[in-house]
Symmetry: C2
Subunit: 274 residues, 2 copies
């Protein structure tokens, strides 16, 4: 497959962690970086506006990305790949900057680096932006001379900012898991995972019975998350990731059996483990 | 108990849905409304700075409030009550306003009312604020004449704004569930719920076995949610709500048995069902 012609949608602006994840996975492709939300990317994949999309699904500190899960439930697309990216924030600034009055970054990044900032830049005001790469873009394009930026090394280089410090977060093991979204289905590899979503029949023990199917077939669950059905409080859908490919005979049998405990099952995709 | 002297922390500024929930529950109390996050409220309850706190825990459209769950795991406090509040947004403006160029509100509220805004105010720019009550406060205090606000009727009245339209959200059944947080424990009532958090022993089927304890004792689960342990990707804690009070003999037995499938259990509190 000639990847040169592939269009891949990522969260913008240019320099985002999502773009970095996409570049790890696709090597050579045309990045479309004007997306503001995972939902917009997934919708455009479903409408064939772009070939693939890369969206964050889960972070080791923050947890699940609700808007990604909701859009995967809503649109007809497939998860075709998984990427895990270490999140390493750096402190950067415009090359002309000398004195700093404020720090721009996404609220979560500001929070993860607050101990460092309190110790090294106690006089600086914290100014939340919609994303880490947007902070880098603003400071670069407006040539802001009094602001520090917390962003990825990738974003700092993208916007030609000077890197002042590395390893500034007090949280270790900060990783984000991304899904690659497409319209095809991924063929089985040596080691696959499958993601599904289902609704439970409204009776006590329905979730227990559903999980029992996985135990019976010795299928290893790697994640379970609940999301509201948006119909009423206390009514949930469950998103489950497990090891195995949907074309595998055992998985097929298990999914068939699972339907007796569920109101519906949607297979979100099978993909090689990152 | 003389509720007049009680101090109750809520998310600010004045007029928030959280304040409204607190006023429903406590009738007469001293509201402390300068909190920016559920974590700050819960921390101040644990440090005895305030008697009680009210925090959002779950919304029927958006799902769980991660920062509340994380703070309940971290701090030594008890859930002592539950409140369910219908979320009804109204469209409001400064009484002097005549022509509108923009709409201020929380991103989620803007999103929930976007169909209405597109139909009635297509020329208006959407400007996200940190909360719906902050939008009302800004427009009121700065006497902004060209902005609409989406907020609760309570917030509009609090800031003496003129209500222009009601029932503007395209999402029905929008409800938020709040927890009342304190340092005491709530005595059993006719109909109680208990919330716990636990970590699972790292072996296949551990969650299934944990849920099996609830099935065995015929305890009705009302909610299950997972949160990252923040140690590594793929490592989760589970937060479970179920019917019954922790002082009930059956619940005591079940929790004892549950410990064989879990690395730890923390009882977050037992409280009367809303």
């Amino acid at each position: 497959m000639d990847q040169k012609s592939l269009t891949v949608g990522v969260l913008g602006p240019k320099g985002s962690y999502t773009e970095q994840a996409a570049l790890c996975y696709f090597k050579d492709c045309a990045i479309i970086d004007n997306y503001l939300s995972p939902q917009d990317i997934i919708e455009d994949v479903s409408r064939l506006v772009i070939d693939y999309g890369v969206v964050p699904v889960e972070n080791s500190i923050q947890g699940g990305v609700a808007s990604t899960i909701d859009a995967l439930i809503k649109y007809r697309v497939n998860i075709v790949g998984e990427i895990v990216l270490p999140i390493n924030h750096v402190l950067a600034a415009h090359p002309k900057a000398e004195f700093f009055r404020r720090v721009l970054s996404h609220e979560q990044a500001l929070n993860q680096c607050k101990d460092y900032l309190k110790a090294e830049y106690p006089h600086c005001a914290l100014e939340p932006t919609a994303s880490t790469s947007l902070a880098a873009k603003i400071v670069s394009e407006k040539e802001i001379a009094d602001a520090l930026v917390i962003c990825s090394e990738h974003a700092a280089k993208t916007y030609k900012l000077k890197i002042i410090a590395k390893h500034i977060a007090s949280t270790n093991n900060n990783e984000t898991r991304f899904f690659v979204i497409g319209n095809s289905t991924a063929k089985p590899t040596v080691h696959d995972k499958t993601s599904i979503v289902f609704g439970l029949i409204d009776r006590p023990g329905a979730l227990y019975d559903a999980l029992g199917v996985f135990k019976k077939y010795e299928i290893n669950l790697t994640r379970i998350e609940s999301r509201p059905t948006k119909k009423k409080l206390g009514d949930y859908l469950f998103i489950i990731d497990f090891e195995g490919h949907k074309d595998n005979e055992i998985i097929k049998k298990a999914l068939e059996e699972l339907s007796s405990a569920t109101t519906f099952i949607k297979i979100l995709g099978s993909y090689g483990i990152a």
